[in-house]
Amino acid sequence: MKEKTKRIIAFYSMISPWFIVFLVFGLYPMMYGLYLSFTNYYGFNIKKLKWMGLQNYHKVFTDSDAMYSLGRTLYVTLINVPLGVAIGLGLAMLLNRPVRGVGVYRTIFYLPSIVPALASVLMWKFIFSSNNGVLNGILNLFGIDSVNWLGYDYATTSLLIMLLWGAGGGVLINLAGLKGIPRDLYEAASIDGASPFKRTFHITVPLMTPVIFFNVIMGIIGSLQIYMQPILLNGAELLARPIQPNYLYFVHAFQQIFAFQRFAYGMALLWVLFLAILALSVVVFTTSKYWVHYETDQEG
């Protein structure tokens, strides 16, 4: 057997466990969902499906709830992603310093990302509570009146605070990126008299852009799919409708599928979301050549 053939067999053998699982549990349901999005499937008529063409997709763009929730989702994404990435990087830079007990700090800042969403939402509900809530207690200490954090005017702010509390989740990958920056660059810059500020913005940030790029892309994907936090922040169960400013796109799709049993329409909503994610990713990807710096040649 030729060496090349051996390598090909080895390659496919190694990726096959994940690939087979992806085909069966990822790609197949996804494609089946795509097919259903062109039908009138409502959960109980699988044996007598009717082909509806693009009707469900047309509905998505004429559904005021869908468009409203898409707008709110983009708004949340626009704030959550840049702030989340910046906080994650900032924390990683702090936690990259040779401070005593840094391991404990790293654990503490990473902790929110491993707390189950349900538990963290319950905790935040009490923090945001108007009656004996921690946040209002602090405001009251400074003589500021209590605020309804989960009401119409502050609900999205509260959601963003809760989401950004988990920004430490990016610490691991950021730390790995920071460890990869050669020390001699900093030493050379110091010898040349570069201030810490300049070293950060002329060495650390440029060399971290591939990691930032990755975090931005994953952040966009995650933010566009938020659904449980806004639901549970205002309600007690998954079919509860969140307060209107937190009525996000994925929540709308979830409601259509599970509250109204509009499975086919829900699938269409999700495919439109998929295309939106793709479009945003392409935009970020296209702009990356202007701000992402690789140490190696990108032509190959």
């Binding site: 959960g43 008529n45 938020i226 599970f258």
Partner: protein
């Protein structure tokens, strides 16, 4: 090359997420996706096996572990060695997915009032009329009229074939009071023989609400944990029943919220929210309502008879049970007295069950056998049999007060709330969508009524079309 690798990773991640709607997202999912089974389930055979003589079949049920104990299952399995019972923990989303894929349990736990017509229309519920009629356990003259909540002829609840039975029921919109909170406000208890109207309830709640500066020291009215003291779709339907108003069009083919009774109901509750009578979305009080009630910080709770079980068993109430009691279900002004069940939690047999005989054996035992006696004795709900009413607790002053009010309520419990089956679980969502802005003064009542009517009719039209009607 590296950019393309990242792009490919992005696409794959998005694709995986897309295919995983309803499974997990952003750190987990509140829906419990794990199945739990009885300890005896290890001997189970495939549910695809037929129940031929000598073969052991497994009956899957979504009745919860709290409602069907391991001991009860063991007793049943001892009496019926050919049947194993497996409890499946499901929530609304998992059950919807199971039903959609034809993988739902054999005996499905449902809320009779909210779910039954919808399940019948979709062909999920098996017609049990003949089985119940021929049963030696369920006798027509012993079953309470409340069991007719599980009858539906496609147009009217309470008529036609019977598709299931409640495990128990309650007059879910009645009121429980805490006398200590009444005393603190210097307000006398209302007459337990005479139901309050909704506006009267709001006025009473205002009098019972005590402020300490800007903070609420005591609320007048609270409701079940997680819910808020504000308008809800279910309690609107209950109010309309008393007002004698049906907002559904013929055969549930449409719905019209543009009705004075709907407006009166919403306005009454808006008044309550404005006056801070209980924890609501505007005051954002996240305190557990049960805690408020038992700590004398809420004077009344909206609950059915089953809540007497909670009061009897709460350590904070046990020493002074005589301070608690039940008041009749409030009514609409000039409305008729009603005391309907708001859920009648029970079960149906899945029409697609591969073991209908064994499922029925279990059904008959659970809903009419020893478990029914066990349930009645605890007082955590009302039995569906006249003959089991005597099993309800009747020892303390509290028990006797509750039973006295209950006697009256029973006479008005044979009317059923008219839930539009085509709205499925979406009625509440549509109602909340338009009521929330009202609570915060962000829209007008007319806008809300117009919006909910439009959305609900769109949903009904689509559901009917999908059902081929």
């Amino acid at each position: 090359m590296r950019k393309w690798t990242i792009m490919l990773t992005t696409l794959t991640a998005a694709a995986v997420a897309l295919s995983g709607c309803g499974s997990s997202n952003n750190g987990g999912n509140a829906s419990n996706g794990t199945n739990s089974s009885s300890e005896n389930a290890s001997n189970e055979t495939s549910t695809n096996n037929s129940g031929k003589s000598g073969e052991v079949v497994t009956i899957r049920t979504s009745i919860t572990e709290g409602e069907l104990s391991k001991e009860q299952i063991a007793e049943f399995e001892k009496e019926h060695p050919n049947i194993k019972i497996k409890i499946e923990t499901v929530d609304a989303t998992k059950l919807a997915a199971q039903l959609a894929t034809g993988d739902a349990p054999d005996v499905i736990r449902i809320l009779g009032v909210q779910d039954l017509p919808n399940y019948v229309i979709k062909g999920i519920a098996m017609d049990l009329s003949d089985r119940i009629e021929q049963s030696s356990v369920f006798k027509a003259d012993d079953l309470l009229p409340i069991t007719d909540v599980y009858r539906f002829d496609g147009k009217t609840v309470g008529e036609g074939p019977i598709y299931g039975l409640p495990k128990d029921w309650s007059n879910d919109y009645a009121i429980f009071y805490n006398k200590k909170a009444f005393d603190a406000a210097g307000v006398p208890l209302p007459d337990p023989k005479q139901p309050l109207t909704l506006p009267e309830l709001m006025e009473l709640s205002k009098k019972l609400t005590i402020m300490d500066g800007k903070k609420v020291k005591q609320y007048g009215l609270a409701t079940n944990s997680g819910a808020k003291t504000e308008p809800t779709y279910d309690s609107l339907i209950e109010y309309l029943l008393s007002a004698g108003v049906d907002i559904n069009g013929e055969d549930f083919g449409s719905i019209n919220f543009d009705n004075q009774a709907v407006k009166d109901y919403i306005n009454s509750w808006l008044d309550g929210v404005k006056n801070n009578i209980g924890p609501n979305s505007v005051n954002n009080d996240q305190t557990n309502n049960g805690d408020l009630f038992f700590k004398n910080q809420a004077a009344m709770m909206i609950f059915g008879y089953w809540y007497s079980g909670v009061i009897r068993n709460d350590e904070r109430a046990k020493s002074h049970l005589e301070d608690f009691g039940m008041l009749p279900t409030p009514v609409a002004p000039n409305g008729t007295r009603v005391a309907p069940t708001g859920s009648a939690t029970g079960g149906i047999i899945n029409a697609a069950s591969k073991h209908p005989e064994e499922a029925w054996t279990f059904f008959e035992w659970y809903f009419g056998g020893k478990p029914a006696d066990d349930r009645a004795k605890t007082g955590w709900g009302l039995p569906i049999f006249k003959s089991k009413m005597d099993l309800l607790p009747n020892e303390t002053v509290f028990d006797k007060q509750v039973n006295e009010v209950l006697k009256d309520e029973m006479e008005y419990s044979n009317q059923y709330m008219k839930m539009n089956p085509y709205l499925a679980g979406g009625g509440g969502s549509i109602f909340n969508k338009y009521v929330q802005p009202l609570l915060f003064g962000k829209s007008s009542l007319d806008e809300a009524i117009k919006g909910m009517t439009k959305d609900a009719n769109n949903a009904i039209e689509e559901a009917k079309a999908a059902a081929g009607q």
